[in-house]
Symmetry: C2
Subunit: 333 residues, 2 copies
C-alpha cells in the first residue's frame, strides 16, 4: 500500500507511491547522443578570452595569474543594481521596486567540466566564492534574502552550458523562507532543539537514508523526499547561516558536494539537477532554531496538475532505495 | 526597472522581469511536426471499444446509448481504494496509510478532441461529471482533500494523449490548502470581506488583466501571476466550495472554460497546460471567507534553481500584456 509521509521541515505531505514505484535503475538517463563537450567554445561568454562578452568581473580567484573562478553581474539580471528599494501600497496591492543583486559565478575556465569532474580544490574555490558573494549581497541594505543556486541541464532551467551558478539578493523575504523560519522556531520552543539537528540525529540513528558522511557533513535522502533522488547535505555542527561556516568545514563541504554530485553523475548518467543553499538570512546569524544546508534536486520527473493543485507531491521512488543505490554508486569515473 | 508584486491569495512574491521580458507572441509554440491526431486509436485504453483495458467504470454519461464521458478508477492509482486510514506517530515522523480515491475522467470518446475543440454541451457534461465525482470522493470518510486536475501535453506531465482529467481524494489536508484557508480567514477578519471577492472587485475596476467575462464568471490574469499566461476563472457569486455551483452556473462555466482554453489553443498554438479546481473542502461549504475557482497554468517556462531555492518566481511576461494578447485571441478556429 502507498504511504503518505510528512516532511517536518516544510510541513508538506508526500505520497510515496509504492504501487507505481520505479526501481532506482529505471531513472538512469538514456543518452541518445554523445555528450562530450569541448573544453573551450569560441562563442561561449564564460570561456577564457571572452571576458569582454560579460559585464566587468566583481571577483576573480585567484588574485593573480589565470582565473579559476570568475564572478560577473548577470547580463540579463532579474533585478536592477541601480535604484532605491521603494514599497508600494494601494488597496490590496503590494509592490517593491525590483532592485538587488544578480551575479553569475563561472565555476571553472573549462567549458566541459561539470562539478562531478572537478578537483576538490576547485570546488573549494567555488565555495569560497559563494561565501564571499553571499556576504557581499547580504551587506547590501536593500537585500533581505540571498539565494545561491545552480541549474545543470535543460530540465533544470539552464540556458548556458558552461558550468556556472548564480546568486540573487532579493529585496524581500519570501513566504517560503519565513514559514520555514517560523516552523523551526516553533519546533525549538516545543522540543528545545533545532529541528534540523533533530532530523539529522534521527537519520543517523536509522541509517537507511544516509548516502555518505564526512567529518563535518552528512548527505541523506529525506524521509519524506518530494522527488526521486533529492538529497540534503547538512552540517553536523549547528549553524543557522551559511556565513558561519569555518575554513575546515568549507574544505570538507567541497569534498562531500563533489562526491555526492559524482554519485549522481556516474550512478544516473549525468541527470539534470538543481542545487541551492538554504540558509537563514545573515541578520539572524547565530540563532538556535535554524540550520543551513545544501538541497540537491535531480530533475527526473515533471510536476503535473496534482502537485500544482494540491501542493502534495507523488514520489514514484522509495527514499530508502534511492539512498541504497547512491551509496553503491561510484564517486570516480 | 523590474517590479516585485505580491500575490495576496498565496502571499508569494513574484519578480515581473521587465528587462528580460518577452513579448506575448514569443511564447507562441513552434510546431515542428504535424500534430493532428486520429479520432480513434486502436490501442488507446480510453477509446470506445477498449473499455476492457481499464477498471470497470464508476460513472458513465449519458445513462443510455454511447458514452460521452466515462469515469474509471486509475489503473495505476497513487492511492489505494482498499484499506483503513491509519496514522503513524514516531518521534518526528508522521505517516498516513495511502488510501483514498484516484479516478480518471475520460472527457470525450474522440481521441483527437482537446477541450478547446469540443462543443460547449460536451464540456458541460464534463463539469457535471466533476461535480458528481467531487461529491463522491468528498463523501468517503477517509478523504480530507479532493483535487480535480488536468494535464495537457508532455510538459504538463501527461502520459496518455486521449483527453482526460483526474480526481484524487487524499486522506490529509495539505499545508498549501490549510495556509490559504487561514490566510483567507485572516483577510475576512481584517476586511470583513472574502479575499477572493475583494481581488475580483479590484480586477474588474482595473480591467487591464481581464481576459473575458460571462454572466457568472470572469477570466483574468493575476496581478502577481507567477508564470506567463496563467489565468483564474472565478465565479462572481461568492461560493466557498465547488459543490455549491448551480446548474446555470455550471453551463456558463462550460462556455467560459472552453473559450478560455480555445484562446490559449489558437493564440499560443496548443501549448501544454494544467488546470485545477481550487476549492474549500466540502465540510466547510458555505463559509464566508473562501471562494473556489479554476486555475489554468500554461507550461511555457521551466522552474529552475532560484524558484526552488527561494520560493519566488521570475515571470518573464507582463500580466497586462498577456491579458491583452488573450483578449484578442480567437475562441474559434
Amino acid at each position: 500500500m502507498p504511504e503518505l509521509r510528512h516532511n517536518v521541515l516544510t510541513r508538506e505531505w508526500v505520497i510515496i507511491a509504492s504501487e507505481r514505484a520505479k526501481r532506482p535503475h529505471e531513472f538512469v538517463r538514456e543518452r541518445t547522443q554523445k555528450e562530450e563537450r569541448p573544453s573551450y567554445e569560441s562563442r561561449c561568454p564564460f570561456c577564457p578570452g571572452n571576458e569582454a562578452l560579460t559585464p566587468p568581473a566583481t571577483l576573480v580567484l585567484p588574485n593573480d595569474g589565470a582565473w579559476k573562478v570568475r564572478v560577473t553581474p548577470n547580463k540579463f539580471a532579474a533585478l536592477s543594481y541601480e535604484g532605491d528599494r521603494r514599497r508600494g501600497f494601494a488597496d490590496i496591492r503590494r509592490t517593491v521596486t525590483g532592485v538587488g543583486i544578480h551575479e553569475v559565478i563561472i565555476e571553472t575556465p573549462d567549458h566541459s567540466k561539470t562539478t562531478a569532474l572537478l578537483e576538490d580544490r576547485q570546488v573549494e574555490t567555488i565555495l569560497d566564492t559563494y561565501l564571499n558573494r553571499f556576504n557581499y549581497a547580504s551587506s547590501d541594505p536593500r537585500v533581505e534574502q540571498v539565494t545561491i543556486f545552480k541549474n545543470h541541464g535543460e530540465a533544470a532551467g539552464t540556458s548556458l552550458e558552461h558550468p556556472h551558478s548564480q546568486i540573487i539578493g532579493a529585496p524581500v523575504i519570501t513566504s517560503q523562507l519565513r514559514d520555514r523560519l517560523i516552523n523551526a522556531l516553533k519546533h525549538f520552543d516545543e522540543y528545545g532543539e533545532c529541528i534540523f539537528c533533530h532530523v539529522l540525529k534521527v537519520e543517523l540513528q536509522e541509517q537507511t537514508r544516509i548516502v555518505m558522511e564526512t567529518e563535518h557533513f552528512v548527505t541523506f535522502v529525506q524521509f519524506a523526499a518530494l522527488t526521486p533522488f533529492s538529497m540534503l547535505i547538512m552540517p553536523r555542527r549547528h549553524m543557522a547561516c551559511f556565513s558561519e561556516i569555518r575554513d575546515a568545514e568549507a574544505a570538507d563541504l567541497a569534498r562531500i558536494l563533489r562526491r555526492t554530485l559524482a554519485k549522481l553523475y556516474h550512478g544516473l548518467k549525468n541527470p539534470d539537477f538543481n542545487y541551492t543553499i538554504r540558509t537563514a538570512p545573515r541578520e539572524v546569524c547565530g540563532v538556535k532554531y535554524f540550520h543551513w544546508y545544501v538541497s540537491i534536486i535531480p530533475r527526473l520527473t515533471r510536476v503535473a496538475g496534482f502537485e500544482l493543485g494540491s501542493g502534495m507531491f507523488i514520489n514514484t521512488s522509495l527514499p530508502e532505495a534511492d539512498a541504497d543505490f547512491l551509496r553503491q554508486a561510484s564517486t570516480e569515473a
